[in-house]
Amino acid sequence: MRNFPRSLKRPHPRARRFRDDTEGAGGMMEELPAFTVVVIALSVFITATYNATISFGEMTNATSLGEDASSYLRAFRSYENVLERGRYTQEPLTGQFDPAKLDCLDPAALRRDLNPRHPFNVTVEDAIANVTWSFGERPPSDPATPRVQESTAAVIALYGGERHPAVLSVVMW
């Protein structure tokens, strides 16, 4: 039988005290699983709350942006400076655009008169003649930028009584 030195055969008294101790570190270690579960639970709850807050904020922003885009669309649809006028009453006809007026519309006047709260781009597309009028800024190329697009029906009133179907669209971001 191999002879080990005495120090390896019998642990040092201090080491033996640590090995046999059941009151200090051992008590704390028993609470660790519970502590871990509590930390995980709190993390899950905080993450859920954070996500809910972010979602709610985005939803509110999107709703606000959507309402602004919608009201701007309606404002442009009845913007007198681009509308055809009735033959007898000379009243501006809502939703019926005069192409000559669209050609010479001043973007600065449009911005001043309709006063949008966000950057915008508005287009009027003659669906028969494939002619498009565009006003405002170029929409951002970054797809992450939140934006809203609204569109509605309109009419291009040509000289001579012809009326083409058109699509009026607004992008706001």
Binding site: E30, A41, A48, A52, F56, M59, A153, P165
Partner: protein, 179 residues
């Protein structure tokens, strides 16, 4: 010594049990929170959508009816007739008048230009149908981008109706939109 260790183990198990209960409660609370936000978002989007689409239907209808079509040819009693520039409303009235007169007419050109005008105005996300009904005539005039009848329209739809005068009677011209 043995009793003390057992007591500590009980305490540890009890703490773990409490922590698990806490975990379950927070998990349920997180779920409820996320569900609430999702349902609020869905209901807001739904109500906005309904309000906006009602307005959209009326704008499409108003625009479509003043658009002009033509000149168009159609065959009446074997002879070709050219119809000049006319509004979509006038075109629909003409179609109804021809149908009521009982003449042998090929009016597919007229119906197709009406359909085309509505198609150009309406966003591709929607299907649509146009129904013209006269109060004292049981044969309604129906046009739709998807073949079928009123029964095949979507369950949730938006409508806009305007008065119609054709063939000496009154009625309504209704636009249906659905997804």
């Amino acid at each position: 010594m043995t009793k003390s260790r057992f007591s500590r183990q009980r305490k540890g198990v009890s703490a773990l049990f409490d922590a698990l209960v806490f975990f379950v409660i927070l998990l349920v609370a997180s779920g409820v929170l996320m569900l609430a936000v999702t349902s609020i978002a869905a209901s807001t989007a739904e109500s906005d959508s309904t309000r906006e689409l009602g307005r959209y239907a009326s704008e499409v209808q108003a625009s479509a009816l003043v658009c002009t079509v033509g000149p168009q040819n159609c065959t009446v009693n074997g002879s070709e007739v050219t119809m000049g520039l006319m509004s979509v409303m006038k075109c629909i009235v003409t179609i109804i008048d021809i149908r009521l007169s009982g003449n042998m007419c090929l009016i597919s050109n007229l119906t197709s230009v009406v359909l085309t005008t509505y198609s150009l105005l309406i966003n591709n996300r929607f299907h649509f149908a146009v129904l013209a009904e006269l109060d004292d005539n049981g044969s309604p005039f129906f046009l739709s981008d998807s073949a079928g009848s009123t029964a095949q329209m979507g369950r949730v739809r938006w409508t806009n109706a305007v008065p119609l005068h054709a063939g000496g009677s009154e009625g309504t011209l209704t636009l249906f939109l659905w997804r």
